[in-house]
Structures are given as structure tokens and as C-alpha cells.
Symmetry: C2
Subunit: 471 residues, 2 copies
């Protein structure tokens, strides 16, 4: 049996000695071909084993990125942008070899325009770092994938997180990007105006393009005033369906919840073990409300009432900032908490998103599908958006488990797609969902994507092999 995560690198292209020499001369200690460095840059949080790039360059500026791209373009050498390595679908594997360009040292906050509610950062700035640096401004940046990802990476995968139900995803929150194109030119995709009808939406074209159309080096995003009042709540339900129905009604009534997260009993167990919490091991919702004192109170009362009608109990409030921080840290660490439930495992995380009216069917269907699994599985997610994750903990060396996990993943995705939903709400396609995307988008839409790719990157040097098959 072929291991389903054993990716071929038969298309690996050579890295010419002259290019290695040129990069080493130019970047000195910021250029590396050490095996450990290459391994680190050839994998992500997906279950795929590393396929290392041939070399790694640590860039410090947009101009340096452009230099590397121009060198790669000359010799048609692949180039893969790297942020913190937290992607989940094999985005970083160097399936055609080449150079990993690490942007983590491009971590400067370039311009806080507090009066405009915008900030411009280098692509390597992480979401936590940004919010730390914004603390004195009274503003915050809401997008929060589980990992402390970089804003460049979050742009490249069209990431979101727990706050998306209120604040939107990277798609809605990026105002403009600085991008190095495949021929080493530097473009800025938009002004800082809040809205624009000025030509093709290049910003949105690069958001979610997973490094295949250009290297994002700077990101301008929207900021929000820290709400006057914030309140969070945890509530347990007798069944998963009760929890999910509570969220569906919350959304349908237009309650502007900031966060509404579902966690199954197994996820809560993992969190308790990992984060030393004592949450009741039952289907659970985490809510957070943002607004003025009175609007937060109003939202909370309405949601509490809806929850009660669905058997919600043990409503616990976290109004003190430190309690809320503990709660949301626990939520953000849920993926890693799950991983620790099976030492040595790797996780496959599904990422379907469906119209809200189909959420209950989608999530209970996923539960039924997973009930047959021989390994631990958990459900959690951003249910207010119709998006949830099934986490499948498999032994990465066991091809049979991997095969089974892929089969279950397939079923969950197909169920979501049958409900006019998508195979990926926020993680992206990478290597792992190429087949799903083909079915979901259809051959003619994929053909448009291919034409765009060929038009912008004719030699296919930018993160080749990701999102779709080019040939």
C-alpha cells in the first residue's frame, strides 16, 4: 500500500551551483543549506512528512525578497514563501525543490495609523505580536487562527478564526498588500482608502493564493476600537445538536456575537488535560460579546435565553480580562491539546463550511462518519460561520490509519459539498485538497485559475504544485 502522505518529488528541479554561490555571497549567514533548517522549512502542521527545499534564505526587506525572486526567475527555480510554518494542508512542502524564503525576520510594524483604524506591517509580523504592539492605541486586530500565524501567511491562506463571525476574515480585513511578482517586480495592490472600485481587485487575488502568484511582503489591515465592554460565557448542552441549534438561531436572529465556538466533549477533555481547566466534558459553546455595556448585556441575555431553550446549563461567565484570556487561550490551544491525547500522533483537520441552515446536518453527519474511526477524533469550530473542524489523530507511520482518515475526510467533505458548502473554510487547499477543489469549483473554474497562474507566473516558480495541478 502506498502511504497517502508520501508525496513524490519527482518533479524536483535542480538548484544550480552558481545560484547557491550567489545567494550565499549575498545573504551570508542568512542563507542556509543545513539539513535541519531545510527540514524545518519543508513541512507544516499537516500530516505530510517534510519535503525539504534545497536552501533557505532569511529576508529582511521587500527588496531582498525581490532579489531572491529575480535570481530564482533567471534559473526557473521554485520559491516557497515561509512565515511561521503553521499551515495545515502541506502548503510548504518543496515538491519541486527550490528555495524557501523565510519572512519571519521581516517582523516590523511599519505604520500604525490609529486615526484611520489601519496598520501596515511586514509580512512576518504575527497576530499576537501585532496586538501586543497595538496595546497602547486602544485598537486591536481581530483575526485569530489557532496558531500565532504571520500576517503574510494569514493573507496567503485567506485565514480567519474565532472572531470572523463578527469581524470577517482576512478577505474583509486586508486593505492592501505589497507583493513581489514572479518577475521580481514590487507592486502595491491598493491604497489605504476603505473602499475602492479602481480596477481588478488584485488584493483579493493574492489573498488565498497560497504563494502561487506572488510573495506577500507587507500587509495593511483594518483595526477596531477595543470594545467598551466584553463578556464571555461557557455553556454546556445535553447533546451536540442542542449546542449547534443554539448557534444557528443566534445567527439567524442577527445577534452580533463576536465569537461562537463549538467544542465536543472529547475536545473539552483534551483542553482540560492540556490547559488545566475544569470544564465539564460535554458539548460546549464558548461565546464572546463585544459592545457597549448595555448592548453586551442585551446580547448575552438573548443568547442565554436561546441556550436555555435548548437545554443549555452551567452558564459560566468570564468577565474579568484574565478569565477571558484563559478561556480563549484554551480554545486556541485546542488543536495542540487534541494532539497530546495520542502521543506521537499527527492530526488531519477537516475544514468544511456550509450555509448556516445546514450546519446541524453537516456536523451530526460528520459525527456519524467519525463514529466508525479506530483512532481518536474530535469536533470543534467556528460554528457561527458554518465552519467546523474534525480532528483525526492518526499514527503517521501507519498507512492503514492514514488511508482510513483520508476516507473519513472524503466523506465529511462530500457531505458538506452536497449542502452547497466548501471543502475549506479557512485552511486553504495546499497539496491536500487539490482533488476536492477540482470537484467543488468544476473544470472550467479551475481552468480560469490555471490561466491566471500561467499569466502571472509563466515559469511556474511560485510555490509550484499547490492548489491545482497545472498540467
Amino acid at each position: 500500500m502506498n502511504h497517502p502522505y508520501a508525496f513524490s518529488d519527482a518533479l524536483r528541479r535542480p538548484l544550480p551551483d552558481a545560484m547557491i554561490a550567489a545567494l550565499r555571497a549575498r545573504f551570508g549567514e542568512r542563507f542556509s543549506t543545513a539539513q535541519a533548517v531545510r527540514d524545518h522549512h519543508g513541512r507544516d502542521e499537516s500530516p505530510f512528512p517534510a519535503i525539504p527545499p534545497d536552501a533557505v534564505v532569511y529576508a529582511h526587506s521587500t527588496e531582498e525578497v525581490a532579489e531572491v525572486v529575480r535570481l530564482c526567475a533567471q534559473d526557473k527555480v521554485p520559491l516557497i514563501p515561509f512565515g511561521v510554518g503553521s499551515s495545515l494542508e502541506g502548503h510548504l512542502l518543496a515538491v519541486q525543490g527550490g528555495v524557501s524564503i523565510d519572512l519571519s525576520q521581516m517582523n516590523k510594524v511599519l505604520a500604525v495609523n490609529a486615526e484611520d483604524l489601519t496598520v501596515t506591517v511586514q509580512a512576518g509580523v504575527t497576530r499576537k505580536q501585532l496586538n501586543e504592539e497595538l496595546k497602547s492605541t486602544g485598537l486591536f486586530f481581530p483575526i485569530d487562527p489557532g496558531a500565532d500565524a504571520s500576517l503574510g501567511g494569514m493573507s496567503a491562506t485567506r485565514a480567519s478564526g474565532t472572531n470572523a463571525v463578527r469581524y470577517g476574515t482576512m478577505k474583509e480585513n486586508v486593505l492592501g498588500l505589497t507583493v513581489v511578482t514572479a518577475d521580481g517586480k514590487v507592486i502595491r495592490t491598493a491604497t489605504r482608502a476603505k473602499k475602492s472600485s479602481a480596477g481588478y481587485d488584485l488584493t483579493r487575488l493574492f489573498i488565498g493564493s497560497e504563494g502561487t502568484l506572488g510573495v506577500i511582503t507587507e500587509v495593511t489591515v483594518k483595526l477596531y476600537p477595543v470594545p467598551e465592554a466584553v463578556s464571555a460565557a461557557v455553556v454546556n448542552f445535553p447533546t451536540m445538536a442542542d449546542a449547534v441549534d443554539t448557534v444557528i438561531q443566534t445567527i439567524q436572529l442577527g445577534v452580533p456575537v463576536a465569537r461562537s465556538e463549538f467544542l465536543c466533549d472529547q475536545t473539552i477533555r483534551a483542553i482540560n488535560a492540556h490547559s488545566k481547566t475544569t470544564l465539564r466534558e460535554a458539548p460546549t459553546l464558548f461565546f464572546e460579546f463585544h459592545g457597549t455595556e448595555s448592548s453586551v448585556k442585551e446580547q448575552a441575555e438573548l443568547v442565554q435565553q436561546l441556550a436555555r431553550e435548548h437545554g443549555g446549563q452551567d452558564f459560566e461567565w468570564a468577565s474579568r480580562p484574565e478569565d477571558r484570556t484563559r478561556l480563549w487561550n484554551a480554545r486556541h490551544n485546542a488543536y495542540f491539546a487534541c494532539l497530546q491525547m495520542r502521543p506521537g500522533c499527527r492530526a488531519i483537520s477537516t475544514d468544511t463550511c456550509v450555509p448556516i441552515s445546514r450546519l446541524a446536518d453537516s456536523i451530526s453527519g460528520a459525527r456519524r462518519i467519525l463514529d466508525t474511526a479506530k483512532f481518536p477524533t474530535m469536533l470543534l469550530g467556528h460554528v457561527g460561520d458554518g465552519n467546523f473542524h474534525a480532528v483525526l489523530l492518526i499514527d503517521p507511520d501507519d498507512a492503514q490509519e492514514a488511508e482510513e482518515a483520508e476516507r473519513l475526510n472524503d466523506e465529511i467533505v462530500r457531505l458538506a459539498q452536497s449542502m452547497d458548502g466548501t471543502c475549506t473554510g479557512e485552511h486553504g487547499v495546499g497539496l491536500h485538497k487539490i482533488g476536492f477543489l477540482e470537484e467543488e469549483a468544476g473544470a472550467d473554474a479551475i481552468d480560469l485559475m490555471r490561466r491566471i497562474k500561467r499569466a502571472l507566473d509563466p515559469d511556474n516558480i511560485l510555490n509550484p504544485g499547490k492548489i491545482f495541478r497545472l498540467d
Copy 2:
């Protein structure tokens, strides 16, 4: 002196007789080459005189659109999608001849998914029609350009309007599109999932592409629950600066106003004349607040306080639905009201949008620039987004006035661009802003747009000559 609105159609391509015969045979009375019909389809609300297409087809379905596109593709004949003809920058002029494909009879609401807060419509459905058909659902669609535009046209120009400050633009509110590509294929750009990371964002690529990349035939948009409480207010200010500063502070404090519109004294005069209102002829803000009873009250009190600090007076409330409707109808008709201040005139409308901190400078700068004008000018706009319009009423037959208007327009745009703003917040580029876009985006970004255009429409049949010069 060449008249600045005299566009050449030297690039006009022939419409083969065989194609005329084929279209007539296929579409019967829904095919026309009558001069009046052609004239109507070769112009918009811009000051440009009509450049008529060679023929007009009224399509009834996506499949019919695809048939027309395939016929045009065969003979490399240009094709221009037409909604209601309310665009403002010469989008519809047939500068290379060809066929206008009128989608106004594709006006069916296809699927109201109330429980998902989405609706799918044919591209010819107008915003007013849609909200009329949604009345019984308790939901509404907020995007409201001045005209009763079609949702296809609004998608194609990335339109917005008075509600954008709270609900976003077409960019944020379209979930997915059905599009006929240049080779007559039909694609659906996305599922109905609220968020997705599934490949390139084709939805956003077509939004704002002004008919140059494909013909939008169906649109799925987000809906919102009609707020529990709505309240509107009108307030006058001693100076324009006072009004604008009130809005800036409202936004910077994060007050979730639904609408915040500025109208100068001249605009109010025009509205009073046109809509039989008796508003005081002074710099004025129209506000609207959406939410629960208590949150609306809270927002209104806060904004009232801010307005008072800036000398706001005569705070008038419109809480009854019929009063609000009268108020917003007056606002939406402001453009047409302005036009009537000078019989026989045509208007140039600027459309700059700047970061909110620069709004006061941008709008007072525009006022100074316009003070030299020899014809009537007005200022109004969606100031909560940093977007406003200067309306310049010129005699369309007077080349000197047109030249002067263009010079003033230039200055206003350049001022906005010097503030990291854009030449167009919501109207689009069309023919009129090709030069501005070039400067704003830069040659390398325009080059990417050109490559995308060539990749998706190699024979340049889709609304050729718009957004950028291709050669």
C-alpha cells in the same frame, strides 16, 4: 479644441452579416438594430455622448448569454453587458462596436434562503425590486447606489452606497456569481458557504471587472435581518468642516452607524427643489442607526453629543418609516436633483475615497478647487467611508466647460491620491478614469491586470477599451 468627451470609435470592429442573421433568427424580437435601441445601450449617466453598439440582444437566461458570447467569440465581436444603464464613467460606450447584451429581462429572484441569510438572483434584478420581494421575510439587502441599479451591474462596478459604512460594499456582500466566460463557458465562482479558502477568489476577481472578464448572469448575496429599531436624523452645521469632523469622530470611536451622509448647502438646495423638502440650506449630515431599541438610542445620543460639540443644530429625528423613506429617497435622488439645477446639463461626478483621517482635508481641498468653477458644483457623499462626490454641472456642448471640469476633476483626484486615497470609491474606472488608475496603481500593477485580461479574454471581446489600455 477637441471635446474631451468625444471618444473615437476608430477601433470599431465589423459585425458580420451572418452573425446578425444568426442572432435575429435565434432571438427574434429580442434582437434589435434599431437606432433608438442602440443609442440607449451605448451610453450611461456619464457626460459622454453615446457610442452605440451595432446590435442589442435581450437575454432571458444564462444559457442564452452563453450562446451570444459563443457567437461573438467565433467572429471576435465585442460584447458589452447592460443592466439598467446607470453607470457613471462611460462603461457602456461601444468604443469598438459590437453587441450589447441587455440583462434587464433576467429579473427573477431565483432562491431566497432566508434561514441562511442569502438570496440568489438573476443579474437584472434591481436593488429596489429585490427589497420589495424580500418584504415578507424580515430580511433586507443593504447595498444602495443612488440609482436603482441591477445587481449584476453593481457587482461589475463593485458598487456601494449609503449603507456601506456599516454593511460593506458589493465586495463584502456577494457570496458567489454565475459568470459566462469569454469562450462561452458557464462557471459558478463559489459555494454558498459564508467563508472559504478554496483557491483563487474568482468571485472578487469578477466584482469590479466592469464586464471585461466575463458576463455576470446570477448573483448570490448576503441578507440581513431588518433591525429591531431604526432611527434617522438630520443635523445642520455652521461649516462643512464641522460636519465632516463630526463624522470622523463618529467613525474613530467605532459607533456602528448604518449611514452617515454629508450634503453641502447647494446639494440641500437642489434636494429641496426636487423633492419638495424644506431642509435648511446648510452643510448637513443625514444619519441612520440600526440595532435594538436601546443600542439605537445609545448610538443616537453619542452622535448627537458629538454633533453638538461641532456646532450641530436643528437635530431632527425621523423615526416613522415614512419619514425615513422620504429622507433617504431625497438622498438617493440627490444626483438627479443636482442635474435639475441646470436644465440641459450633464454631470461629472468625482468619486474619491481617502483614509478617514484625511477626509476633512480632502473635502475642503475639493471645495477650494471647485470655488474657481464657472458652473454649478455640489459636494455630497458617503463620508463615513471617506468617500464623497463632487458633482460638476456642465453644458455638454461646451468644450471649454468640459475642459475646465476635467481640470478640476484632475485636481480633486490628485489631491486624494496624494493622501493615499483612490480615484474611485464606488463608481469604477470605465473610460473616464483610465489615466488616473494608471497613476494610482502603477505600471507594474496595471501590467498584471492586462495579463489577467489577456489570459481570460485573449481576443479582447469583453467590453474592450475599459479600465486600462490593452496595448
